[in-house]
């Protein structure tokens, strides 16, 4: 098997609040291999987001080792971490985090603006390609507030994959979505995963976790269980079973 994309050993994160310490991660060791689809589960406060932020190079661990695509990130400064986020990682948030008063296309283009190699035309082409991959090419010119929640999350996914990342990290991407839209989003993740992109997502919904290939259960800042999903669900097969609600904004 190939070298892991993500390899963490004894990851510890302690938040200091005055003289009070919160042990958010108490020694996490985990390897995630290329093309894997991992769902991280666990109760609220178990350290899932803290883990994702560190893996996403948004935060640094208190101690422990983290190799991203073979690169040791523990010695990197702010700027180098920013570069890694730009080049190797795609992030999807629960609350979409799109720029307001900005078109879908411009939102998707954003990571490309912070990596200088492409011309304006190439950026546009790349962004359209990504929007196409999430099925929103026809909404390129729409402003983010003109899109439904599901569409906004799909734009966010397009943004996360526009710079060809080695892994997409999604922290509760379906947390703000209804059942059907959640499955639609999972369909996109599964499609991307089939194309070879590694996906790590956090969810506390069992139903959603069953779309992944592997489940990792967090408990009090530690991994309590790792399991392969046996009866893995395929989103495109599930979708027809879910009734379309009348008042849904999706088209």
């Amino acid at each position: 098997m190939a070298d892991p994309i993500i390899s963490v050993k004894h990851l510890v994160k302690i938040y200091k609040m005055g003289d009070f310490e919160v042990h958010a991660l108490r020694g996490i060791s985990l390897e995630i291999n290329p093309r894997e689809f991992v769902a991280i589960m666990g109760a609220s406060g178990s350290g899932k987001s803290t883990f994702m932020n560190i893996v996403g190079c948004l935060d640094i661990p208190t101690s422990g080792e983290y190799l991203l695509d073979g690169i040791d990130i523990s010695k990197m400064d702010r700027d180098e971490l920013a570069r890694l986020r730009n080049k190797k990682l795609g992030f999807v948030f629960q609350s979409f985090n799109l720029l307001s008063r900005t078109t879908a296309l411009e939102n998707v283009e954003l990571p490309l603006l912070y990596s200088n190699s492409r011309s304006a035309a190439q950026r546009r082409e790349k962004a359209m390609e990504a929007l196409n991959a999430v099925g929103l090419a026809d909404r390129a010119g729409h402003y983010s507030n003109q899109l439904s929640g599901g569409q906004q999350q799909r734009v966010a996914i397009a943004r996360s994959l526009v710079n060809d990342p080695v892994v997409i990290l999604a922290d509760e991407p379906t947390g703000n979505l209804d059942t059907r839209t959640s499955v639609e989003v999972m369909e996109i993740f599964q499609k991307l995963n089939e194309r070879g992109i590694t996906v790590v997502l956090v969810t506390h919904e069992l139903d959603i976790a069953r779309f992944a290939g592997k489940n990792v259960l967090f408990k009090d800042g530690k991994i309590s269980r790792i399991a392969m999903v046996e009866d893995r669900k395929i989103a495109s097969e599930e979708l027809p079973k879910i009734p379309v609600l009348e008042d849904e904004m999706e088209s």
Binding site: N53, G56, L58, D59, R78, D79, A82, R83, R85, N86, K87, F91, F93, N97, L98, L99, S100, R101, T102, E106, L110, P111, L113, Y114, S115, N116, R159, N163
Partner: protein
């Protein structure tokens, strides 16, 4: 990082929130417009004051033939005068701080034109009286050095005399007037000068060549006074010292003896006026400066609010790979663009409003290119200065905390 991309990002961001952009600019617009208008009005007023002072002949010195007394000197009491034309010549030749010198002889008499007559003062002076008093003709021309040499019977009329002899609005050049039964040809009319500091009508005068008045009207070998001008307003006191020393030598005064003449200057008037102008300019400059600073604080205020308001946006940018320096540059470019645009609009507004004030109030204004450049540089500097802190603040945000910000 590609700076062009950051510029693009900045402009998209400004365009996305036009009202906020405009409000930010407003401070600078008002500040710059105020600076332009203040400087235009201030310089206009200051120029007007300077012109009035120059009209007085600030560089002028007057030598009276008496020792100064407690009650002041009296021009009229000329019987024991010891000033001569050769004193004037000596001053001209030996005092480097003196530019022009003329002896003055003065006769108070009737002047007659046809059936009209008028009592006035006839001044005899060299043609350089024009430069010394800074008193040009309104029409016609001054007499010349050859008129002076030949004791020609030509004269210039002051406005008051011209009006009383020939009526207002007529130009009596070429006409002849009788002064003590001698015909004088009128070759010019002096520009109006108004009242002097004592309230005397300075236009009630006839000016003729010194030699003519001295020989044909006064019949004296002395001069009633000597008028001189210093080479510059700052050289007036030097000129005064030089003249005093020279005349003491020429009049053979021993070292303890008091002066038998008085040198008067207009330095006091000039320095008061100068101080007034300076105070006024300073006042206007500080008002303008304050409005610019207020404008700058306005920019900083809105940029700071905007950093807080845009915390989440900054978090998003950082999450997709913006470095601190990218965010810093973006915010700086935004601040700079706003202050540049505000500066340009402010300049246009300032020029228009000062012209408006000038038209309505009939105030003199001077819009100098320097003030425009100055205002613009100030605007840019304020953009950088007050844009820096909020930009720095934005760049130092922690991405996770920024993303979590509601």
């Amino acid at each position: 990082m590609n700076i062009l991309n950051i510029i693009k990002i900045s402009y998209r961001s400004l365009g996305r929130n036009k009202l906020r952009s405009f409000l930010t600019m407003l401070g600078i617009i008002i500040g710059v417009a105020a600076v332009i208008a203040m400087l235009a009005i201030g310089q206009g007023a200051s120029n007007a004051v300077k012109q009035q002072i120059a009209g007085l002949g600030t560089n002028m010195l007057i030598v009276f033939p008496f020792a100064s007394t407690q009650g002041g000197v009296h021009f009229q009491a000329g019987t024991t005068s010891r000033l001569t034309q050769s004193d004037a010549t000596a001053i001209q030749e030996q005092c480097p701080a003196v530019e022009y010198v003329t002896p003055i002889v003065r006769v108070v008499t009737q002047v007659i034109a046809g059936t009209q007559n008028w009592r006035t003062i006839v001044f005899g002076a060299y043609p350089n009286y024009e430069e010394i008093r800074n008193w040009p003709v309104q029409s016609g021309s001054y007499f010349t050095d050859s008129d002076e040499r030949d004791a020609a019977k030509v004269c210039l009329l002051g406005q008051t005399v011209a009006e009383n002899l020939f009526g207002a609005g007529t130009v009596p050049i070429g006409e002849t007037i009788q002064i003590r039964n001698l015909p004088f040809k009128i070759i010019g009319v002096l520009a109006p000068k108004g009242q002097n500091a004592n309230g005397d009508d300075q236009d009630d005068i006839v000016v003729a060549p010194f030699s003519t008045v001295q020989q044909k009207l006064a019949g004296t070998i002395y001069a009633n006074a000597i008028f001189a001008s210093a080479i510059s307003s700052s050289a007036v006191s030097t000129a005064s010292d030089e003249i005093t020393q020279l005349l003491r030598d020429r009049h053979k005064l021993t070292s303890g003896a008091p002066n038998d003449f008085t040198v008067r200057t207009q330095t006091e008037i000039a320095s008061t006026a100068d101080a007034t102008t300076k105070t006024m300019t300073l006042l206007l400059a500080s008002i303008a400066g304050i409005s610019l600073i207020v404008g700058g604080i306005g920019i900083m205020n809105i940029m700071l609010v905007s950093v807080t308001e845009r915390t989440r946006e900054i978090g998003i940018r950082m999450a997709v790979g913006a470095r601190g320096s990218d965010v810093l540059t973006q915010f700086l470019i935004e601040a700079l663009s706003l202050s540049f645009a505000g500066g340009i609009i402010g300049i246009v507004l300032g020029v228009l409003s000062s012209q408006f004030v000038s038209n309505i109030q009939k105030w003199p204004i001077v819009i100098s290119p320097e003030s425009i450049v100055l205002a613009f540089i100030f605007a840019a500097a304020i953009g950088i200065f007050f844009g820096w802190y909020p930009a720095r603040k934005a760049a130092n945000l922690n991405p996770i905390e920024a993303l979590r910000y509601e």
